[in-house]
């Protein structure tokens, strides 16, 4: 039974990163906070591992047991296992799309969520859409494997609008980044 391992996940990301950045660069000092996406390739996927139904503890949380895959405007949609905020799908956006006029943050916090259709664990990047007032629709706060501020990449309270022209929070998306296995 493999447990969710944030360190290993961060290490994989950082090893990928290390080849392309100098040790003193800002990126190298960000540590694991850089779960960012456009700048990074998808995580390596072990197809053999991914083919097995997930029997890990992540699959047995209250959220995972009740999650659904049909309606991404509901808090129990499977990718939202660690989301906090207004769902962009209810604000004129989509599951990985910002509503008109908003700007996606290039960095994010992450969750590891189980898709009930295939039983596999996926890494989800919760990228905030920024630069417009708080949408206010479909507020959700799910907390599977959500940690505290000293582990910011797994904390869902931080306003993640970094690198955007405005840090005003509008809504949150749930972008599938890859397999978490």
């Amino acid at each position: 039974m493999k447990k969710f391992d944030a360190d290993a996940m961060g290490e994989r990301l950082l090893r990928k990163l290390a080849g392309g950045t100098s040790r003193r660069s800002m990126l190298s000092r960000l540590g694991a906070a850089l779960v960012a996406a456009p700048a990074f390739p998808l995580l390596p996927v072990s197809r053999a591992e991914a083919a097995k139904p997930d029997r890990s503890p992540e699959g047995k949380t209250g959220f995972a047991r009740n999650a659904q895959t049909k309606d991404d405007t509901k808090c129990d949609y499977w990718r939202y296992c660690a989301i906090d905020g207004a769902l962009c799908t209810c604000c004129g956006g989509g599951i990985h799309s910002c509503p008109p006029g908003a700007e996606p943050s290039p960095v994010s916090w992450v969750g590891t969520c189980i898709n009930p259709d295939d039983g596999k664990a996926y890494l989800i990047a919760y990228r905030d859409c920024c630069g417009k007032p708080a949408c206010g629709q479909c507020g959700c706060d799910n907390t599977d494997r959500e940690t505290q501020l000293y582990m910011p990449q797994l904390n869902n309270d931080v306003i993640w609008c970094f690198g955007t022209t405005s840090m005003e929070y509008h809504c949150s998306t749930a972008v599938l980044v890859g397999s978490a296995s």
Binding site: G62, R145, E146, Q148, L149, D157, F162, T165, M167
Partner: protein, 391 residues
């Protein structure tokens, strides 16, 4: 009626109202006593009292409301816009707000600052510009003031992790120090400050001038499997912090150049039930909420919001308050709540008052001795509660 005539009528009516409010208005002819004329003025309040509590309005209300726990009456408000952090000068002369505003409302030039308010007039005295600060809200330990009241530490996340240090006497920004992998600050008198880290250690940050020397304790908790709530408590008289983990483990750390961290104990075991676990499918009592615990420092009793649930329900509001005697490691009282509560504080008085609020923003005041609900205040605010910590 021509439009210009209508305007004239309205103008005359408005003028009439102004006259009514002016001293030339005649008193009613048939009464003996005449009500005194009034003028507008502005009240002041005393410096903060130990029975007062300060409720951050959170996401929905841009102010921190000051309430008297004895009377339940509001005393005033300090402006704390969304995601601001509030702190009280230990000497009681000032209220401090670490905040972020933009020159054009929600756009334009970003401005980060510590705003200084007089505690009696609640007037803004000055602003100390900062190079940045984290935007998160609902945290007690991102903006802390040293025990002597001379220094403030403002956590920053850009997303490089660091701390901005402010001289509160000169009201000047001093320096920024990097704090890789750590956050959630606590004062460390004579040293600088301490912080919790993602490797499960406690960092001690010794400040010398503008330099920071960071050392780490051995890891003592798991930041991913059983995190410590970052809204922990600090006791300035003992120079000690009390930590609580998601499963309910309670640690105490004596701060100094080298911290000493106690062996933890389980809050559930302290109540005579099985300890909380990280395993799935285990229903048990767990701590939860945004500000899930409060320490009554004179008695060493810790008040914890507890709920029945499964692991990873750490933001859930408490349906009971458990009172833990830290010295004997026993839960001495369990109090059921009428409504679930998300934040808790306690007055540092001989007869402690518990202050709590829920996600809807209603606050209650409970007398610890009798269990009586002394006051319920609607729309008090839904976020962090602060009290004075007299030493």
């Amino acid at each position: 009626m021509p439009r210009t005539a209508a305007r004239g009528l309205f103008a005359a009516a408005a003028w009439g109202w102004a006259l009514l409010a002016s001293p030339v208005q005649a008193a009613p002819a048939d009464t003996g006593a005449v009500l005194e004329m009034e003028t507008s003025d502005v009240l002041t309040i005393t410096p903060p009292k130990p029975t007062w509590f300060f409720v951050d309005g959170g996401w929905d209300m841009p102010g921190t409301s000051i309430f008297d726990g004895e009377t339940g009456k509001m005393k005033g408000m300090v402006e704390t816009r969304r995601l601001a952090d509030f702190a009280i000068d230990p000497a009681g002369k000032f209220y401090y707000v670490a905040e972020t505003i933009w020159s054009k409302g929600d756009r334009g030039t970003r401005q980060d600052m510590v705003s200084v308010y007089d505690s009696q007039t609640l007037n803004l005295i000055t602003e100390v510009p900062l190079p940045g600060r984290i935007l998160i809200g609902s945290r007690k330990n991102n903006f802390i003031v040293s025990d002597d009241g001379k220094t403030a530490y403002v956590y920053d996340f850009s997303p490089i992790s660091g701390v901005n240090i402010v001289d509160l006497v000169k009201r000047k920004f001093v320096t920024a120090v990097e704090l890789p992998g750590c956050a959630s600050l606590m004062p460390n008198p004579g040293i600088g400050f301490s912080a919790l880290c993602s490797d499960g250690s406690l960092a001690t940050v010794a400040i010398k001038g503008t330099k920071a020397d960071i050392s780490h304790s051995a890891p003592f908790f798991s930041a991913t499997d059983d995190p410590i709530f970052d809204n922990f408590t600090y006791d300035r008289r003992k120079k000690e912090t009390t930590f609580l983990t998601y499963t309910g483990q309670i640690y105490q750390a004596k701060l100094g150049a080298t911290p000493t961290i106690s062996t933890p104990f389980s809050i559930q075991a302290a109540a005579g039930i099985r300890p909380g676990e990280t395993k799935p499918l285990e229903l048990n009592w767990y701590p939860g909420g945004r500000q899930p615990m409060a320490l009554h420092r004179p008695s060493g009793h810790l008040f914890v919001l507890m709920h029945m649930g499964e692991y990873w329900s750490h933001k859930a509001s408490g349906t009971e308050v458990w009172e833990v005697d830290l010295a004997t490691q026993k839960v001495v009282k369990r109090r059921a709540l009428k409504e679930p509560m998300n934040n808790i504080e306690v007055s540092q008085t001989d007869k402690p008052l518990l202050f709590m609020n829920g996600e809807e923003g209603s606050a209650i005041v409970i007398d610890v001795a009798t269990g009586e609900e002394k006051h319920k205040i609607e729309k008090a605010g839904g976020s962090t509660i602060t009290v004075v910590d007299p030493s």
